[in-house]
Amino acid sequence: MSATVPESGSQPTRREAVMSALGAIVGFIGAALAVPLVAFLFGPAVSGTRPGGLLGRSIPPTPRSRAPWSPVGELAALPQGQPTLTTVQLPVQEGWIQSTMAVAVYVERTGPDSAVIFDLHCTHMGCPVVWNQAAGRFLCPCHGGVYDANGRVLSGPPPRPLDRYAVKVDGGVLYMGALQLPGA
């Protein structure tokens, strides 16, 4: 079994032409498959978002509510000036699944008809922050992030205050709205 391709003559250029055609066909099929496949993989996850800035950021993994407002409870029943871990029932859609999920948030009444609602994830890497009543601080167990009762960063690596949800009070009932992510 020896090579059958001659060393010279018109054959090599013919082979080159065939190879080029082969390359073009393979390239076309590859690209024609790759575009829909990449869009298939990325599509729903990134559609409608813009590229980020020079500094990346964490995003809370909390399920997003499909409803604009969800009731948290009677505002008057909440202790003032003290964040309280509360679960709120949110209508949620994940892909093909619609469900109602209990989502934990820190709720704090700040006045007779005002309140703030904090997401419970540290803005550094998303670990769950713990309200330490004795110290009056939110503490993150992962890398030492410390926040005050207003969610302001006092110490450690968190790059921004605790993320908040929109709130409204209607008829004495506190409602929770969308997550207020900076720059979103």
């Binding site: 993989l41 990325f42 729903p44 996850a45 990134v46 978002t49 813009r50 590229p51 980020g52 800035g53 020079l54 500094l55 990346g56 950021r57 964490s58 995003i59 809370p60 993994p61 909390t62 399920p63 997003r64 871990l85 679960t87 949620v92 994940e94 892909g95 699944i97 209990a102 989502v103 934990a104 419970l120 994830h121 550094h124 890497m125 998303g126 670990c127 769950p128 922050v129 713990v130 309200w131 330490n132 004795a134 110290a135 009056g136 601080r137 503490l139 993150c140 167990p141 992962c142 890398h143 030492g144 410390v146 005050d148 006092l154 110490s155 450690g156 690596p157 790059p159």
Partner: protein
């Protein structure tokens, strides 16, 4: 019977020359126990494939069922604990064996000409295996799985410009849940194995095509007076032919590979039977008492996050990951000196030592008991209330005393010798630098804390 079958097949396919060419080909002298880690990696990958494929028979990739399907495997399926345990422990073993394999290749300078491409495919395989690990440990959907994925995907979000997209592509949106588990499963079961098989095939093809690199010599083999004028390829081929001349057939080395594979198999089996697959409670996105900790091979990076602070932290994280990736990938291109013997590469060896000490040190620091789960040691009964307050107020989240606690703030094990009571009091109530102020502490608590801290000398 077996011989007749072999000769029947061989008469048709003429395979024996290939088989003998593979087994009888000579390998250089000195290919010994240090070289078993490459084949050990291949062995453990095969174990992963075998156990992983069978695990999918019972595993259900859904947030509702994943955890219970793992419980079913380990508690009810015959040998389920063993199969899942071997999959888990050989994954951990794989990370160690790959590390030693890379280290051996580095120390022997085997990534240099003409084996640059083997090194590059090897580095790609390292990151493929880490991607396997990252996607794999979400699958049981226990607490560790969920929270490690929250943190891991947020780390991807630190990348400039594309970070937001990378995070969303990994999670399948912003929520860690149904879609995240489904795509991690798809990557773990289909995408990564396909990539792995391609690169392992390329890696092995290169190893067999070029032969195993001879152990480095302090002085290169003498090619005679004309040797130095020969082209590089010619010089290399002549020297490698001399190395092989002095070597032994490959089948002799295979025995060492097999013995080491057997040792690994027994070790992994023993771990699977005795320790099994430790499962944490089911994933609870609403848990606030949980202290996230990654699998041991990511602890070094997790610990590194203590030291990167401030506004530019995301960029630092990105640059460190990118830097490590490029430093490894491009090693054969920026280290092109022909010298391979470790004693003649002091700078390269020093870099390796710093790298190893760094990884081991960070892993050790990251692996200590999670902070703030227990009160630090108190020197006397009188100061015990202060030690309890130290823990209750969350001080141990940042400060270490007697080996327990965080590292973001100064170690306070001997603070009593460095500060007076008044200084301590001022520091706690007013804060300074990274230390937040705690002005609202009741006097009794403050006094207990100061008593305790002052007693630490």
């Amino acid at each position: 019977m077996w011989r007749r079958l072999v000769s029947w097949v061989d008469e048709r396919l003429n395979i024996m020359p290939l088989w003998h060419g593979f087994l009888d080909r000579k390998v250089p002298k000195g290919i010994g126990w240090f070289h078993v880690f490459g084949s050990a990696t291949l062995f453990l990958l095969l174990v992963q494939f075998a156990t992983g494929i069978f695990l999918t028979v019972y595993y259900a990739p859904s947030t509702e069922h994943a955890y219970h399907s793992i419980e079913f495997i380990t508690d009810q399926v015959p040998f389920g604990k063993y199969v899942a345990g071997v999959h888990l422990w050989s994954a951990s073993m794989l990370v160690i064996v790959i590390g030693v394999h890379m280290l051996r290749t580095f120390v022997y300078g085997a990534y240099k000409y003409p084996r640059e491409t083997t090194w590059i495919t090897g580095v790609v395989l390292l990151f493929v295996v880490l991607a396997f690990a990252f996607t794999g440990y979400l699958l049981p959907y226990d607490q560790k799985a969920y929270w490690a994925t929250v943190v891991g995907t947020n780390i991807a979000g630190a990348a400039p410009v594309v970070g937001d997209w990378a995070l969303r592509i990994l999670r399948g949106g912003t929520t860690v849940g149904v879609l995240t588990l489904q795509r991690f499963y798809a990557f773990h079961i289909w995408v990564l194995p396909a990539v792995l098989v391609l690169f392992v095939a390329a890696h092995l093809f290169m190893v067999i095509r070029q032969g195993i690199a001879a152990p480095p010599r302090r002085r290169p083999l003498d090619l005679g007076p004309a040797g130095a004028t020969l082209p590089r390829r010619e010089q290399y081929e002549r020297q490698y032919a001399m190395e092989k001349q002095a070597g032994h057939p490959f089948y002799i080395s295979i025995l060492k590979d097999a013995v080491f594979a057997l040792v690994l198999f027994l070790a992994v089996s023993a771990l699977a039977v005795t320790v099994g697959t430790p499962l944490e409670p089911p994933a609870d996105p609403n848990a606030t008492s949980y202290v996230p900790r990654p699998e041991w091979y990511f602890l070094d990076f997790f610990q590194l996050l203590w030291y990167l602070q401030g506004q530019w932290e995301p960029l630092w994280i990105f640059l460190i990951v990118l830097g490590v990736l490029l430093a490894l990938l491009l090693l054969p291109f920026y280290d092109r000196a022909p010298e391979r013997h470790p004693q003649r590469r002091p700078f390269a060896m020093a870099c390796a030592a710093v790298g190893i000490i760094g990884v081991l040190g960070l892993t050790y620091l990251g692996g200590r008991k999670p902070a703030a789960t227990q009160a630090p040691p108190a020197p006397s009964a009188a100061t015990a209330p202060g030690a309890r307050e130290f823990q209750a107020q969350g001080c141990a989240g940042c400060h270490t005393i007697g080996g327990v606690g965080g590292t973001v703030g100064p170690n306070l094990s001997h603070i009593g010798g460095a500060m007076t009571r008044d200084q301590l009091r001022t520091f706690i109530t007013q804060g300074r630098g990274g230390m937040p102020a705690f002005p609202q502490l009741p006097p009794a608590v403050l006094n207990a804390l100061v008593d305790y801290l002052e007693s630490l000398k």
